[in-house]
């Protein structure tokens, strides 16, 4: 690197600056707009805000005047349940498929990959019909189940790749030392596959937290909506209050940014594994 001449170095840093701007500017503008006093949103905008609204009127209005707090709680409940169910089911499926002789196991793995590519309406329309029939349409449980149709295939796929790289002789050694298979699983396999499990949990949470389609189709009452649908309907019902909308958007993104800040390693690994495999 040291011996490289000035011009390529300059090109690289210019490119990096542009990439940073391209990726970050819309997010910056969203966050900045949520902290501006309302009158500053009208008229000529300055790139760096002259004033910050220290009373946070946009956030207050959002929390006090809309269903946002209830919907935030709905989203948290749904996303955490989806993450737990996904982790549990995909550990079992992926582990048994890699460690036992299971008839039709390639069909199972193949159909997981295939399910990745289903058109959303192919699942959303019949799911609403089924949930209406058994009487749980418009419930959070329906949303959880719908999200699992997306997250379980992803989880099985990631963990299948993960368990394959885990050498079987480690469990055998534990079993020779007197562990039962379940004991070997809990004491050896689970700790070693923690990174894979965390990755699956993150992706399941992310899928559920960001979903718009299923929640839009399945939920009709305001108090059962998840955040993305709730916020989108604020845009429809009011005369575009941009300060409040940007505050809402910032608050939806915040948990994801926090997760990313601490767990980016797993996130990047998961992306790489998911793509290399499927």
């Amino acid at each position: 690197m040291r011996n490289r001449s000035l011009i390529p170095r300059l090109l690289v840093s210019t490119g990096a600056t542009l990439l940073g701007l391209w990726s970050f500017f819309p997010i910056y503008w969203m966050v900045v707009s949520s902290f501006r006093p309302e009158r500053d949103l009208f008229g000529t905008p300055s790139l760096i805000p002259e004033r910050i609204d220290w009373k946070f009127a946009s956030y207050r209005n959002l929390i006090e005047l809309t269903d946002y707090p209830v919907q935030f709680l709905n989203s948290v409940q749904v996303a955490i349940t989806v993450a737990l169910v996904t982790v549990l089911i995909s550990i079992v499926i992926a582990y048994v498929v890699t460690r036992y002789r299971v008839p039709g196991k390639m069909a199972i793995i193949g159909s997981m990959l295939y399910a990745y590519m289903f058109p959303p309406m192919l699942l959303a329309i019949p799911l609403l019909s089924i949930f209406a029939y058994i009487g749980i349409a418009d419930h959070l449980l329906a949303v959880v189940m719908a999200h699992c149709t997306l997250s379980i295939p992803l989880g099985v796929w990631i963990l299948w790749g993960f368990f394959q790289t885990l050498p079987f002789h480690l469990e055998e050694a534990a079993m020779v030392d007197g562990c039962s298979r379940a004991g070997a699983f809990v004491r050896v396999v689970l700790p070693l596959s923690a990174p894979g499990i965390i990755t699956v949990a993150i992706f399941a949470f992310l899928l559920s937290w960001t979903d718009y389609i299923f929640a839009l189709v399945l939920v009709t009452s305001d108090t059962n909506k998840t955040l993305p649908v709730g916020l989108a309907s604020v845009l429809g019902s009011y005369d575009a209050r941009w300060g409040e909308l940007m505050a809402g958007a910032t608050l939806i993104a915040l948990p994801l940014f926090i997760i990313f800040l601490f767990l980016s390693r797993y996130f990047i690994k998961g992306l790489a594994a998911g793509a290399l495999k499927g």
């Binding site: 379980i152 960001t210 940014f257």
Partner: protein, 295 residues
């Protein structure tokens, strides 16, 4: 490989059977039910359906709207795929270089991918707001007048594509960056010894080594872009004058706005059949990905 023997084996087996059962119920049942619905005429999700055979398919396929939506979908998918892969490759090559603040830029480059689509849509709608949007004001200052993003078909389509490229390119960037980092340095050394310049090394080492990953990325992103409902719906609702209406939006309109659930299910089943054909042909042409799946 073990066979089922001990009690804990049995316990695992039961857990496996339950898990597979739940998964099949969640995935297979809706798909079968969607196909079933496409043969019925049904006006709401609680009413009884009437068997109509292939009527839904015939009426959907005979409308120009369907073929137009199909064309719009292919256009959106191909254009955003091309831009995502092109930009993603450029970004990955850039992030593989050494420069000051690289870790920070790598982090920033992923952020758009984390955002829920609704946040992306709102951020763009705010930037492009008809009177207060920053980009609208800049366009006006540069002498373009106030662009009517939502009324001009070309602008609306471009808006959808740019927003999708912004938020989904990081997927390509990160996967390609991971692949770039796994290329052994010795290959570049060997190419250098053989007299290859920077371009030669790029074409004869980098690209062939990235190809297996690229093959999978192109398929996944292409299909996902063909299926994307939310970004289009949130930005344009398929408008103006159906200029951005693709098959997912058409299916949604049938099922939830025109009270024709059979029609919606027929559109969804048709796009499913189309995608399955594409996947099948694709893996025939590039058995490489198929081999990866079969191991």
């Amino acid at each position: 490989m073990a066979t089922f023997r001990t009690t804990s084996d049995k316990f695992l087996l039961i857990a496996f059977a339950v898990s597979i059962g739940v998964t099949l119920l969640l995935i297979l049942l809706p798909v079968l039910h969607a196909i079933q619905l496409s043969f019925y005429q049904r006006e709401s999700f609680v009413s009884q359906g009437v068997w109509v055979g292939f009527d839904n398919y015939l009426s959907v396929l005979s409308t120009p709207t369907f073929w137009r939506a199909f064309g719009v979908g292919v256009e959106i998918a191909l254009l955003s795929l091309l831009l995502q892969v092109g930009l993603g490759l450029a970004f990955a090559l850039l992030l593989d270089q050494e420069f000051y603040g690289r870790a920070a830029v790598r982090g920033l480059a992923i952020l758009p991918y984390l955002l829920p689509t609704v946040v992306v849509a709102l951020a763009f709608q705010w930037l492009l707001d008809g009177s207060l949007g920053l980009f609208t004001i800049w366009a006006e200052r540069l002498g373009f007048g106030r662009p009517t993003w939502y009324e001009n078909p070309t602008l609306a389509l471009s808006m959808v594509i740019v927003a999708s490229v912004w938020t989904w390119t990081p997927f390509v960037t990160i996967t390609l960056l991971a692949a770039l980092q796994s290329i052994p340095k010795s290959l570049y050394e060997a190419a250098r010894v053989d007299g290859a310049g920077p371009w030669g090394r790029f074409w004869h080492v980098t690209i062939p080594m990235l190809l297996p990953v690229l093959v999978v990325i192109v398929l996944l992103r292409g299909i996902w872009m063909f299926n994307k409902f939310d970004i289009v719906w949130l930005l344009t609702k398929g408008g103006p004058l159906a200029a951005t209406e693709h098959l997912p939006i058409l299916a949604y309109r049938y099922a939830f706005m025109q009270f024709d659930i059979g029609g919606g299910a027929a559109v969804a089943t048709l796009s499913f059949a189309f995608l399955s054909t594409v996947i099948f042909i694709y893996f025939r042409i590039y058995p490489l990905g198929g081999k990866d799946i079969a191991t």
